[in-house]
Structure formats: structure tokens, C-alpha cells
């Protein structure tokens, strides 16, 4: 058996979801290296697209990897570095954010930000109607956030649900808390909050509790943080549901990539993960108590 080097390039753990991503990647590395003696996985993390481009260069030129699993910081900037990896003969697995040029990738494991916005919008339409007021707390202004937001806005169009305002909360609990405090002092009547991320939602919850307005509204986050899933399992009224966007997708992608070298036939194609709605009924299956996220 030949030695196979697999490079995994992902964003650094700068917020909760990325932390989950890192954890799942490390778990998968340990698991796969233990399972297959000929597999060596090299995990590198980046703080910016340019950083990630550099990481990929290093993986190609120094580590001489046979395969690259990449969750791009942003899609467009990473086309070129990934193309070079491909040119160097590496097997390419792209995760979550697809590259505009799909011919580069061998496998695509897709998260689905648009679906996330749509599923959230569907849920809001079931709970609220004409004349109800919601506020939106967004992430960091990037493509991911914009896709989620646009899909959500399209989803609730025509429902008569009234979006009072949206502000960036940077996928950060502190910012979620502060922005929500300000929304609460500004708007006397809020029926729902779409936080689109569980970290933000955790901050929002504290602000709502502080104001004593728990009975008035519900909050929907996203991603599948274990605390939130646990709350849903326990029947929390404030965060009744969650929309999944599992950081574990990186593990799936690594599994698929390893399979390409260990199974008989080559692996190819797209693995599209949905954005299922987590409700008290199905929450148990999305609960990972050991994950940091």
C-alpha cells in the first residue's frame, strides 16, 4: 500500500461554528489515521482567504499531498490555488462553499446556505402572519451571510411579516447580546427573532431574558450547536427549533476522500447536505454532547 497524504485546509476557529468545524476535522483525522495505516492527514487552518491560499501552496509544494480537502474561506479567491493543487495531481474535495469552476473538483460536499434561509423562512411563516414583527441579526458581511439573508427575505415575501430592522452581529454572542438589547429598547413589539446562527441566538436569549420579554417572542438560530439542540430536546419555548448546518460536514468530506484511496473504485460527484429543521421530535439524532460546538 502506498502512503497517501491528504491535506485538509479550513478556516481557523474564530467563532463557534468554525470551532465545531475544527473539532470535527480533528476527530476525523484521528479516526481515519487510526483506521488506515497508509493515510496521513495534514490539517491546516487559515485566518483569511489569502492565508488559505498560502496554506494550499504549502500543502502542494512542501507536503506534496495526494488529495486536498478544502472548505474555502471564500469561493472566488480560492479557485486559483485549488486549480494549482489539481494541476499538481491532487484529488480535490471541496466542502460547503462551491467553487465557481466546478471542473476543478472531484468531489463536492455541499452545505446549503440558501436552503438554510428558506427553511427558516418557512418556519417563520408557520408561526407568524400578516402584521407580525421580526428582527434579524446577521453574521459577518460575507457571501454566506448574504445568501442566507437573501433566501430568507425571498422566503417570507408576501407573508405580511414585517422585518423591523437587520444588523450585523458578527456570529458572536457579545454582539448578539448588545444588538438585541438595542432592538429591545427600540421596538416595543417584537414577535420573532431570526438570528441565523446559534452563537448569536445565545446572546439574544440573554438580552431577551434581561428585558423580561421571553413570553413575547421566539428565536431561531442556525447550525446545530449542542446547547441549542439540547434546549429543543427539553422543549425550550424561546428557541423552539433550529436549522441545521452541521460542521460535521468536514468529516463527511474527509471520509469520502479517504474512501477514494481505500475503496476499489474512484469516488466522484456531489454530496448535498440539506438544512433540515430540528424540532423536539428529531433533535436527539443531531445531538453531539462531546463536540465543543
Amino acid at each position: 500500500q502506498d502512503q497517501v497524504k491528504i491535506g485538509v485546509s479550513i478556516p481557523a476557529a474564530t467563532h463557534g461554528w468554525a470551532g465545531g468545524l475544527n473539532w470535527h476535522a480533528q476527530e476525523a483525522e484521528k479516526r481515519l489515521e487510526a483506521l488506515h495505516s497508509n493515510i496521513d492527514i495534514i490539517l491546516v487552518t487559515a485566518d483569511s482567504p489569502a492565508d488559505q491560499a498560502g496554506d494550499i501552496e504549502d500543502l502542494i509544494s512542501v507536503q506534496q499531498i495526494d488529495a486536498l480537502v478544502v472548505l474555502p474561506f471564500e469561493s472566488d479567491p480560492l479557485v486559483e490555488p485549488v486549480r494549482q493543487a489539481k494541476a499538481a495531481g491532487a484529488f480535490i474535495t471541496v466542502v460547503d462553499r462551491g467553487l465557481p469552476d466546478t471542473s476543478i473538483q472531484d468531489v463536492y460536499v455541499a452545505g446549503n446556505n440558501t436552503a438554510m434561509g428558506e427553511v427558516s423562512a418557512e418556519y417563520f411563516k408557520t408561526r407568524l402572519g400578516e402584521g407580525d414583527n421580526i428582527v434579524i441579526l446577521r453574521g459577518i458581511p460575507t457571501v454566506i451571510d448574504t445568501e442566507r439573508f437573501d433566501a430568507f427575505m425571498a422566503g417570507i415575501e408576501g407573508s405580511g411579516i414585517n422585518v423591523l430592522d437587520n444588523q450585523f452581529a458578527n456570529w458572536n454572542r457579545d454582539d448578539g447580546f448588545e444588538v438585541m438589547q438595542d432592538f429591545l429598547s427600540r421596538f416595543p413589539d417584537i414577535d420573532g427573532v431570526w438570528a441565523q446562527d446559534d452563537d448569536i441566538a445565545m446572546g439574544v436569549v440573554e438580552a431577551v431574558r434581561q428585558a423580561g420579554r421571553e413570553g413575547e417572542m421566539f428565536i431561531v438560530g442556525g447550525a446545530g450547536m449542542k446547547d441549542v439542540i439540547k434546549g429543543i430536546m427539553d422543549g425550550d419555548e424561546l428557541i423552539p427549533v433550529d436549522v441545521l448546518y452541521p460542521p460535521a460536514m468536514i468529516a463527511t468530506a474527509m471520509d469520502v476522500t479517504v474512501a477514494n484511496f481505500t475503496s476499489n473504485g474512484p469516488v466522484q460527484g456531489e454530496y448535498i447536505l440539506g438544512a433540515p429543521l430540528v424540532t423536539p421530535d428529531n433533535a436527539a439524532q443531531f445531538y453531539f454532547p462531546d463536540s465543543p460546538f
Binding site: G19, W171, R173, D199, D227, P292
Partner: protein, 342 residues
Amino acid sequence: MSVSVPETTSRPARAFGIDLKTAGPLLALVLLVILGYSLNPAFLNEGNITNLLTRSAFIGIIAVGGTFVITAGGIDLSVGSMAAFIAGMMIIVMNWAVGSMGASVWTVLLGVGCSVILGIGAGFINGFLTTKAKIEAFIVTLGTMGIYRSLITYFADGGTLSLNNAAREIYRPVYYDSFLRIPYPVWVFIIVAIIGWVVMNRTAFGRYCMAIGSNEQVARYSAIKVDRVRTVTYILQGLCVSLATIIYVPRLGSASSATGVLWELEAIAAVIIGGTMLKGGYGRIGGTVIGALILTAIGNILNLTDIISNYLNGAVQGVIIVAAVYLQRGSLRAGRRAKKAE
């Protein structure tokens, strides 16, 4: 023997008893409040004001410590990561304590004690490396900034450390409760600011900080233990970070690698908006407090209105900060001119 009678008094320049260096930021704050109120009258609701004050307590407390460091000619870039690191350690220690002996007030006190020790220790390390190893403060604290940020990420396993619920319930009032309708964090801020002011203006230590920042050689020739005073400024900074963290942890009951990001820039900005000079030699605790309020108010006002694109929040913030400082320097100049014309 001299024929001319020398003048004997030497009071610092004051106009109408108000120090213009502080009046500048104050003016900027007042304008900001007027702006906030005119954009949304809810700005002056008791609830909003309470929020604003409580929120500014974190940066404010850290900035009070920063005023000493900067006055003595140093700089501390590590405060944000240090806060995250201390918060994480507090949570780990308290969770461990709950696990081994159940949740009680003692659990929280243990966490608080741990925080204070870590704050002092972290400050000492910064001070030691700058004074004894003679490495620039910028580099030392850039280094420790990376180190603390990494450590919290490591201990949180890339995720979030959450405080045990039982301990949380006991600790929660420290952030959310009030005394005389003023929340505890604001009380802490007030007390830290008053102590800071007294130390800066009414003790030998404060004078030494200004002397060192103004001319280190003169300080040395004046029998001031320069290295020791410098180190103590970093320790004070660490202590302030620890205090800020103690009131921060009960707020969300969690810490992660995203905690305290960019607090260092905000704290330094608060200090400088307040009239302290980055080059050292001149410290204003009162100004720092106002600087922290200005920074928090800008964010608050931006959340209270949606007349401008969200994308441009940062630009508005930048413009207001520059304008506030310009106003301060401007009113200073005007004041000086007025004084000359008297």
C-alpha cells in the same frame, strides 16, 4: 537680594475651573447624545442608558488600566485576548469546583480569586518582558496577545466554554442586578474610575507614571524606580482586565476564541479619545471614562437607527471617532486662544 519679587504660585492652566482637555471629549459626548436622541428618542430611555453604561463598563475598566500603561509610555495590545483567556480559566475552574464540591457562593469566589491572580500574573509577565528583557511593549504584548488567544481556543477545543448552570444562577446577579437602580457593573466601573483618578492624580505613583512617560532619563535621575513603576502599570492593567472579566462572565456565562476580539483597539482608542497622549507623559482618567462612553454610544446609536446601510457602520464609527478627537483638539485650541485674548 533680587530686586524683582518673584511670583510664587503655579497653578495649572484652567479656564473657569474646567480643564479643557477633558471638556473636549465631554463636548463630543454631549453632541453624540443629542444626535442619538434626535435619531431616536428611545436613546434616552432609562433602559437604554442603563444598557449603554453597563456595556461601556468592560471597555471602560480596561481603559482605566490602559491609561496608566500609556501614560508611562507603554502600550498593551494583549488585553482583549487576556480577557478571553481569564474568562475561560474562570469557567474551567468554577466548573471543576462545582463538580467536586457543588455550586455555592464559594465557587464564584474561587473563580473571582483565580481571575485576579491570573490578571496580576499576566500583567506581571508583560511588565517583566518589557522592562527586564528590554523588548518593546508593542512586540511583547503582540506576542502575549497571540498566546492568550491561542490558549483560550485550545482550552475551549475551538468551541465555547460554558459555565455550569448552577454556578451561573449564583453568579448571574453580578451582571444583571442593580443597586440604587444602577447595575453592579456600572458601580464597579465608577469605583475603578474613581480609584484610578485618585491614583493617577493624587499619589506619587501617578506622578511617577507621567514622569517616566514624559522623559525616562529624568525619571531615572530623579530616583524613580523606572522598571518597577512600569511593571506595576502593566499589573494594574492586568488587574483591570481581571475586574472587567469578573463582571463579563456572568453576562453570557461563556467564553470562546471570539471573546474580547478587538477590545485592545477599543480600549486604546478610549484612552486617546479621552485626551491621554499615546507618546506618554500625560494621563487623563476622566477623559478615558468619557472616551469609553463615546465609543459605546456610537455603536448604540447605530443600532437604534437604520438610515444608513449596515455595511457602512464601520465608516460612520470611523468618521465619528476622528471628528470627536478633532472637536477635542479644536476646542482646546479655541480655549487657548480665548485665554490668550483675555
